[in-house]
């Protein structure tokens, strides 16, 4: 069986168009991405996650029971399992979309597979507000996955706020690595 997955970019832009066309939107209820005034003018250069090695070759074993599942698994290994975010933002960036798409593939190929999406923030600002922001990041990834056909029942979004940094230190490089959502198989 083969399944085709719509590109996340197309789905997201279609969703954005739909919401933009909807009438009666209460502007007070529309989430606004927060940016601090002092960083608004400066150009941020978030550290991108390391790209997949160019000499990477995914091994496909012909004749095994489920080649589409194996291919999906290989895609997961290629994209990695972390989605990164800009400061104070919960918008999935372009560099995160392949991660979302590869996870949508494996979850689509195996409907009994469950994942936990853990949202994280950098250390700046309050712990409770960051906990809520991390939850919003996890929810953004969860919503992007369901737009690609993943059943919400396969997913749980949780947040660790700023409590579990991936990188130590108070540099923009460390902060960029910490503003993330990690996709993990549910235990």
């Amino acid at each position: 069986m083969t399944r085709t997955f719509p590109s996340l970019a197309i789905v997201l832009s279609a969703a954005a168009l739909l919401s933009a066309c909807a009438s009666g939107v209460n502007l007070k209820e529309v989430p606004v991405e927060t940016r601090s005034p002092d960083t608004g003018a400066s150009v941020q250069t978030p550290a991108a996650p390391p790209p997949a090695a160019q000499s990477e070759v995914a091994t496909v074993r012909a004749g095994t029971a489920d080649t589409s599942a194996a291919a999906a698994e290989a895609a997961l290994a290629r994209t990695g399992r972390v989605v990164y975010f800009d400061f104070d933002s919960f918008v999935v960036r372009d560099d995160g979309k392949p991660v979302v798409e590869s996870h949508a593939k494996v979850l689509g190929a195996n409907r009994s597979r469950r994942m936990v999406i853990e949202g994280h923030t950098d250390e700046r600002g309050g712990r409770e507000y960051n906990l809520a922001l991390g939850q919003k990041r996890a929810m953004a990834v969860l919503n992007a996955l369901t737009l690609l056909g993943v059943s919400p029942g396969q997913l749980e979004a949780v947040s660790f706020g700023e409590e579990r940094p991936a990188a130590q230190g108070s540099t923009e490089e460390a902060w960029a690595k910490n503003r993330r959502a990690e996709l993990k198989d549910a235990k």
Partner: protein, 407 residues
């Protein structure tokens, strides 16, 4: 230098307007550590910012006549002298007298017998008596502060005296612990623990250690705040989408009642002292700001307007002052807002301030900040003039919550 004086640092910036001059004479038989009664009293009084403490004479106890000439020469309005004796059964007999120097009369004289583990508490209560006698207001030296320390792989929830000493451990975990909140009677702590790989709100009885989750829904459960009558807690839940405010029963039973309905982040609830309002943080207008609403969620209105990032509200016990963390450039600082006239005052001049909490008499704030890469706890007068760094063992200290009167 007496032991207790070496245990904290008082930073006085600016000149205190009216400090009451008090002489505190070392007690006869005063020991080191918790038995350093007069040294603990002296440290308490200085930290409050309301007293200027001297020790013009030595060798007195509660039975000595007032050395009025020396006390007057030192400019002292009042003088404390006393004694401490270890009894055969291991308890301590503490006797003391507070003199009114100007009138050459007795303010008060008392004797208490305490167990060794309550020596510090006894000294703090003497300081409270002096505070109340000379200012007319209750002191907070015998109150407690809860906070969290972090070491390599361990998080510890501590309960310590208001000077950071005499700490007891309430909870240890390999996962983060945040947002401790005292029950109104000072016997229980609510907090957020990640021990189940999710943020869950627990309530723990301090004396017995008995504890249970009061908010454990899917997603994130956090930011507990006790209602003044202790029957409910306001919490932040993400079970229906983004972080929103709910009311849950203290016993964890029944369904949570949703208080806010927005598509923004609503979190960090705190009740006004009369229980009629809830202050909280929301980014419904763009950046996070402090709002308030009726305790049923009615009529939300924005409270903070200066700055683009205002979080972590705390309300003074008289309900008149809001303390919060405001972003100034790249710095996060504690500020106060006079709710009647809108006056904003920055309390701190540090970079990484978090979690302000009022002392129960409303005179002091405790907050977390960072000093040379280590998380530390500071107390400050509301005008920011007198700051004290609480005792630190070098571990990161964070998430302070000042407990109520009584224990």
């Amino acid at each position: 230098m007496p032991a207790a004086l070496a245990q904290f640092r008082v930073e006085i910036s600016g000149v205190g307007a009216t400090q009451i001059p008090v002489a505190v004479v070392p007690f006869r038989g005063e020991g080191p550590g918790p038995a350093a009664t007069a040294a603990i009293v002296r440290a308490d009084l200085e930290r409050s910012g309301l007293f200027r403490v001297s020790a013009p004479v030595q060798g007195l106890d509660e039975r000595s006549p007032l050395p009025q000439a020396e006390a007057r020469a030192a400019g002292a309005d009042a003088l404390l002298a006393g004694s401490i004796v270890r009894l055969a059964d291991g308890t301590y007999d503490i006797r003391y007298r507070l003199w009114d120097v100007l009138r050459n009369a007795e303010h008060l004289a008392r004797a208490v017998t305490v167990r060794p583990e309550d020596l510090r508490l006894a000294a703090h209560r003497i300081a409270d008596e002096i505070h109340e006698k000379l200012t007319g207001e209750r002191g907070v030296f015998a109150t407690r502060i809860a906070y969290v320390t972090k070491s390599a792989r361990q998080f510890v929830l501590h309960v310590a005296d208001a000077d950071g000493e005499g700490g007891r451990i309430a909870l240890t975990s390999t996962e983060p612990i945040i947002s401790p909140a005292w029950s109104p009677n000072g016997r229980e702590l609510a907090y957020v623990s990640f021990e189940t790989q999710r943020a869950v709100v627990w309530v723990q009885d301090l004396q017995s250690g008995r504890r249970s989750p009061v908010a454990n829904f899917s997603g994130t459960n956090s930011a507990p705040a006790w209602s003044p009558n202790a029957t409910h807690l306001a919490v932040t839940l993400s079970r229906d989408g983004p972080a929103q405010l709910y009311l849950v029963a203290r016993d964890g039973g029944g369904n949570p009642r949703r208080l806010t309905v927005s598509s923004a982040i609503d979190t960090e609830p705190v009740f006004s002292p009369d229980g009629k309002q809830i202050f909280f943080v929301s980014d419904r207008g763009g950046g996070p700001q402090v709002y308030r609403m009726g305790m049923d969620g009615s009529a939300p209105e924005r409270v903070t307007f200066q700055g683009a990032y205002n979080i972590s509200p705390a309300i003074s016990p008289d309900g008149k002052t809001l303390a919060y963390v405001t972003r100034q450039g790249s710095a996060f600082r504690v500020a106060t807002l006079d709710l009647a006239n809108g006056t904003v005052r920055t309390v701190s001049d540090t970079q990484h301030d978090e979690s302000p909490s009022f002392a129960p008499n409303g005179r002091l704030l405790v907050y977390a900040t960072r000093d040379r890469g280590v998380d530390v706890l500071m107390t400050s007068t509301l005008d920011g003039r007198i700051k004290t760094r609480l005792l630190s063992s070098g571990l990161d200290m964070r998430e302070p919550a000042w407990g109520p009167f009584g224990r």
